[in-house]
């Protein structure tokens, strides 16, 4: 096939073959080796958790049915567990407006109340749509209450960017990341997608001067 093409075209086809082969190898490495786990764990640094003024559970989106997505539910459960351990007196749920139905933060708050968390201990921050907006809105809502030390709950790959933004907003942050482990090829590909999304998001935030 290459023989039938002109020399420049043949060279570009060789380049495409190399690119295709590299993409295929990368795909196989991600799907069938622990590469994604290794990269994800490098983005998280586990640390012991201590008492704080509030637990902030960052948003992760709703499902098509208006319920919490898997990631959102995981963060929610972890946040409630930390609250139950008595690490902070206040539980803050973020999560922006949905295309239909209630915002994610309100869905989480309702679920927390059903699980026995007193309504007086729950704060809803439903207007933020990005991690940066979450940090700024939470600062607006909690700054006046004298909250300065927070436990920040989010996915492991998302933690570094989120922690930097909340520090920049003036909080003393303890990271409480969810471990993102993958055990099947599909899980590993999904984890790598989140890691790459985070790499792009960090680059974008740095370019914008937010980190």
């Amino acid at each position: 096939m290459i023989d039938a093409l002109s020399r420049p075209a043949a060279l570009s086809m060789r380049g495409l073959r190399l690119l295709g082969a590299a993409a295929l190898l990368a795909f196989l490495a991600v799907a069938f080796t622990p590469l994604a786990d290794t990269l994800a764990h490098r983005l998280v640094e586990p640390a012991p958790l201590g008492p704080a003024d509030a637990i902030i559970v960052l948003g992760a989106g709703l499902g098509a049915d208006g319920g919490l997505s898997d990631q959102s539910l995981g963060r929610f459960v972890y946040g409630v567990r930390l609250y139950r351990r008595g690490l902070a007196p206040v539980l803050v749920f973020t999560g922006g407006p949905a295309a239909r139905g209630r915002p994610e933060a309100e869905v989480r708050a309702a679920l927390a109340r059903e699980l026995g968390v007193p309504a007086t201990d729950i704060i809803v921050v439903a207007a933020a749509r990005t991690t940066r907006e979450e940090a700024l809105r939470v600062k607006d809502d909690l700054g006046a209450r004298g909250v300065s030390r927070i436990l920040l709950v989010t996915g492991g790959s998302h933690m570094e960017r989120a922690r930097a933004l909340f520090r920049r907003a003036g909080f003393t942050v303890q990271a409480a990341p969810l471990t993102e482990a993958a055990t099947s090829p599909e899980d590993r590909l999904d984890l790598m997608r989140r890691v790459l999304q985070e790499v792009v998001a960090r680059a974008y935030y740095r370019l914008a001067g937010w980190l």
Partner: protein, 101 residues
């Protein structure tokens, strides 16, 4: 690891079946397999390029729409699984089109 073994075993089995069908019923030759693999890799390479362009354009549109206040488009949408799959189809179609010259 069990899932990975199963996936690989299924792929090997279907490849062997395709080889037998190709050589015994369709009259294609084993020596043409490298060219077919090359064609696939070229299509995949083009798919990667389409994917990069699609991600870049998608991010630019999302950021511009935010900056201009037109609409808020979550940039996470660019990470949707449909994008690499459709980019791959773009690459395959484009490679096939180039071959028709």
């Amino acid at each position: 690891m069990r899932e990975a073994s199963l996936v690989i075993a299924v792929l090997v089995a279907s490849s062997v079946a395709a080889y037998l069908i190709g050589t015994r019923r369709r009259g294609v030759r084993m020596r043409d397999v490298p060219a077919a693999v090359g064609f696939t890799l070229e299509s995949l390479g083009l798919g990667v390029i389409f994917f990069a362009v699609n991600v870049g354009v998608g991010m630019a549109v999302g950021i511009a729409s935010r900056a201009l206040g037109v609409a808020f488009i979550p940039l996470y949408l660019i990470g949707d699984w449909t994008l690499p799959v459709l980019s791959l189809l773009q690459g395959l179609t484009f490679r096939r089109w180039l071959a028709s010259r």
